[in-house]
Every structure is written in C-alpha cells, then in structure tokens.
C-alpha cells in the first residue's frame, strides 16, 4: 500500500522548464495527502449532478402541483395530496400487485433456470465454453430487440411459437398471447426470464467455482446423492451470492419499465401495469409530474425497505 509520502520519494531539483510543466505539477500534487480526494472529485461531482440532485428534486416534486399540460394550476406546495390520492387510486393498487407478481415470478424462474445452467456448466465438460457464451448472450441484448424478437415469435397471426404449439397439439389455434389478460403477464415473464436468467448463471457459476471440491468428495464417501449434495452443500455455500443476485435483480426489475413498455404498455386493460410503468406513463402521457414523482418515491421507499429486510433476514439465517 502506497499511502504516505515516505522516504521513498524526494522531490528532484526543478529546472526552469519543469516549473511550468503541468505534468510535473500534478505529479507533485499526487504526493500530497489530498490526492485520493482529488481523484474521486470528478466522478463524485458528476454523480451528484446527475443522480443525487435529480432524485432530491424528484422527491421535492412529489409534494408540489406540477402538471406540464395545465400550467394554470401553478407549481404550489400541496403537501401530501399526491400520497393521499394514491391510497384511493385503484390503478396504484393493481400496479403494486402486478409488480409483486412480475418480480417474484420472473426472479423465481430466472433463479431456477440460472442455477440449472450454472450447475451444468460447472461440470466443465468439453465444449461447455462455447455453450456458455451462447447461454450468456441474451443478457447483453437490448430490451427493444429482445421484446420485438419475442413479439414476432408470439404473434397471433404469424408467430412461430403458435405454429409449433398447434403442430405438437398443445394448442387448438393461434393464440394472441399479449392481447389476452390471462396470458399477457405470463408471456411477458417468459420473455423477461429469457433475457435475464444468464445474470443468475453468471453469478452462481462464479460462486460454484469457489466451493472446495473436498466437500463433495467427503459427501460422496458418506454416500450422499446428487440432490442431497445440492441441498446440503451447494445451496448453503451459495447463500451470499444468491442473496446478492436476488437483490440486484429485484432492484433492476422494480425500477425499469422498459420491457413491459415495449411488449404491452401495461395492457390489455391493466393486466401488466407495474408501478414503474404507471409512474412513467403518469409523467409522460398525463404530464402529471407531481403524482409521478410521488409514485416513484413510494416505489423507492418500498424497494429500500425490501432490501433492508432481505439483507437482515439473510444475515439472521446465516447465524
């Protein structure tokens, strides 16, 4: 660790040129004790400007009247008006329920598929390197393209998945997956799981590599089968990584309305309306920035409470 100006460094004598050489000047600055703060300053300022300030501004907005399409109402302070409105807003409650369904089912599916893929990849069979690249690829594809690919495959008139299901005999005729309130959410969850399960594979695979093989050898000698090894060794050893992966996915899923915006825009009816999408549409369709801000604040608070409780719970379980 190089942290103090030890005896290692003694400033060399300056020539006339060096005195005006900016590199030399910064070089000497780098030997002062404020150097690390100087290194952090640019990024910290930028984050304050584009994250902290807008977020605080947004929170403040949620206590004000702010409707771009009705400037006559002014920008006055309205206190908790927006929050009170939420309590009696049926769309808010539907969105909240849908968010819960969307997040839990998508993550459950992503976790199971991601774990299976990670376990299979971790056997290091010949060719698994190439298979790993193919399996991880969807995670890096854009939401817009992922959405359109699946919209094309699930299309009620020309969708290949409909055609295959009819040919196999699972379906009577072509189905409009995204137009039917009973299947729209499930179809969107499948698309989301396809897009993001590699995230779990990625993290779980890294975790699996860190488990000592001795544990499995010992279990083999004791005659433990594959499933009890999974339950008694693998999953407990992966606990921290699973917790981290789930938290990161929950944050991502709750915060970003992208995929649902592309696939369904919340419809049909309100069947795929989630909280982030509702806030987004309140802002950019109804131009009601104040209420949209309040919705996002509630979403943020719920997310924080969840993250805190989740971390606490997974810590308690460790003891």
């Amino acid at each position: 660790m190089i942290s103090t100006t030890g005896p290692a460094y003694s400033p060399p004598r300056r020539s006339a040129f060096d005195r005006y050489n900016p590199l030399r000047w910064i070089g000497e600055l780098s030997e002062t004790r404020y150097w690390m703060y100087l290194l952090l300053l640019p990024s910290a300022l930028l984050i304050c400007a584009v994250v902290i300030y807008p977020t605080l501004y947004g929170m403040q907005m949620s206590f004000h009247e702010m409707r771009l399409n009705r400037p006559g109402l002014g920008n006055g302070w309205v206190g908790l008006k927006h929050y009170q409105r939420m309590v009696t807003d049926p769309i808010f409650w539907v969105s909240l329920r849908n968010t819960a369904v969307w997040v839990t089912s998508a993550i459950a599916l992503e976790f199971v598929v991601g774990l299976v893929a990670a376990l299979a990849l971790n056997r290091n069979l010949p060719g698994s390197k190439i298979l790993a690249v193919l399996i991880l690829l969807p995670y890096f594809l854009p939401n817009v393209v992922a959405g359109h690919m699946w919209a094309l495959m699930l299309d009620p008139r020309l969708g290949v998945i409909n055609d295959l299901l009819v040919k196999v005999g699972l379906l009577q005729g072509y189905k409009a997956w995204f137009a039917d309130p009973t299947t729209a959410m499930a179809a969107a969850i499948v698309v989301e799981a396809w897009h993001s399960f590699p995230f779990f594979t990625l993290l779980l695979l890294a975790g699996l590599k860190g488990i000592p093989t001795d544990l499995y050898k010992a279990a083999d000698i004791d005659g433990a089968g594959a499933f009890s090894q999974l339950r008694l060794i693998t999953l407990p050893m992966l606990k921290t990584i699973i917790a981290a992966a789930v938290i990161l996915r929950v944050i991502g899923l709750v915060n970003s309305p992208d995929l649902l915006l592309i696939l369904t825009s919340g419809g049909p009816g309100r069947s795929t309306q989630v909280l982030s999408l509702y806030a987004f549409q309140t802002a950019y369709k109804d131009f009601n920035f104040g209420y949209a801000g309040a919705l996002s604040v509630v979403m943020f608070v719920l997310l924080m409470v969840f993250a805190w409780a989740y971390v606490r719970l997974s810590k308690v379980n460790e003891d």
């Binding site: 190089i2 780098s30 193919l134 690829l137 594809l141 690919m149 990625l202 981290a244 802002a283």
Partner: protein, 281 residues
Amino acid sequence: MASTRSRSKLVWDIISYIVLIGLAFICIAPILWTFLTSLKVESDIVTRTMHYIPPSITFDNYVKLWNQSSYPTLVINSLIVTSTTVLICLLTGTVAAYAFSRFQFKGRTQLMLGYLVVRMFPAVLMIIPLFIVMRQVGLLDSTFGLAVAYTSFLLPLFVWMLKGFFDAAPKELESAARIDGTTRLGAMFMVVIPIARNGLLATCVFVAIAAWNEYLFALMLTTSTGSRTWPVGLQLMVGEFQLPWGMLAAGGMISILPVIVLFALVQRAMVAGLTAGAVKG
C-alpha cells in the same frame, strides 16, 4: 461401488449436455428466427403456412431500412452517444476506481457504498428532473446531454467493475516504481493502468453495450432525429408503418451485431469483472 459412481457420473454428464444444448438453443433461437425473418420477403412472413426456411432469400429489408428510413442517422447518433458515455466514464471513473483500490482514507467505505446505492434510485424518478434540468441548460435533445444522463447509472457500475480489476493487479511493480522515484501519478498511468488494460477494456465494452442498448432515457431525453438513438427509432417504426416485420428484424439484426461481436471478443474478462464486483458487493 466405483463402477456405480462412474456410471452415475456418465448419467449426469449426459443430462448436463442435454440441459446445456437445450438452453443454448432457447437462447439462440429468437436471434436465429429474427435473422431468418429479416431475409424473407414480406409475403413469406405474413402467410398462412409457416415457412421455417425462407423459400427465397432477399436483402431488400436491409436495403430498404438503410435507404428509406432515418436508421443510418440514428445508428451514428448511437455511436456518438456510446463513445461519449465511455469517454466520460474513462475520464472520471478510472481515477476514482484507482483511488478506491489503492488508498485507505476517511470515508472510503461509505463513499463506495454510496456508489453502489445510487444504482437503486428509480430511473423514472431521475428522468423527470433530468428532463427539466436538461431543458433549462439546453442539453435536452442532444447526444452529449444523453451521454451525461447515461453516466447516472453507468459511472457507478464502471467504477465498481474497474476497481475489481485494479484490486487484482499485483502491487509489487508499483512499489518498485515508487522506490525508483516515480510519483503516484506516474505509478498510476505508467504502471497500474497498463497492467489492468484488459480489465479496463472489458469494463469499457460493458459500459458501451449498456449505453448502446439503452431505451428509456433515450426515449425521454431526445425528441428529434438529430439526437435520437436507434432503440427509440426501432420502437417508433412500430407506429410509423403497419408492423413492417422484415424491416424490424433487419434493424434488430444490424443493431445487435456489434453487441454480439464485442461480447464474443471480451466475454471472458467481462464475465470475470462482473462477477468479481457483484460477489464483493
């Protein structure tokens, strides 16, 4: 006993192959189908009988997309936004990652946690004020403004990922350079950053892919063809024409091609960096 164990190993190997090949197929199939669709003539796409293999291959969709829509402009806009984002991250994030990796100082843990927590802030909550602020300072509907907005979620990611790579770089060479009288500045640029260049490249590629793919900020903060990026343009095509599936597929293929190439090139380092950051965080 030994024979049953080796037989069960064989069984699990076979199961693993079936699972992996099946999953790889599921992952690739949508891309493959989109590619096939992009090569079909419109009448073969909208048809009563499904054509799994295009009866006739055409590049019309690509030609039409490139010549008759604003797609080329949008792709160039996306390139500008993406490179600007990477540049901002490089300039401000590299030194921050270095500081987190090499120095102990007051507030280090809290600051690092701060860089992690800002990723929790809802995009929707930030976009509204960003929209208002950017309009005030004249950055709304500009590629530079959009790139600045992207740093809100990509800069913290960049710093965390790069810090992992710096942590993994051996410290001995740096100490040697210091003993030879190099300044901290010199040690950072001449020793540490060159050692970690693969990690730096992987981090940049990851940020570049994320910026290239981004949709929501671009949708809100751009309003004209002058600064609009390709994801927004592709989405707008849905409304503009009567679902031109061939062109949509062609646009999708063009825009994911750079992602696939970049991912294939640096995936190993990128995967290592992503998991290192996440495992520690």
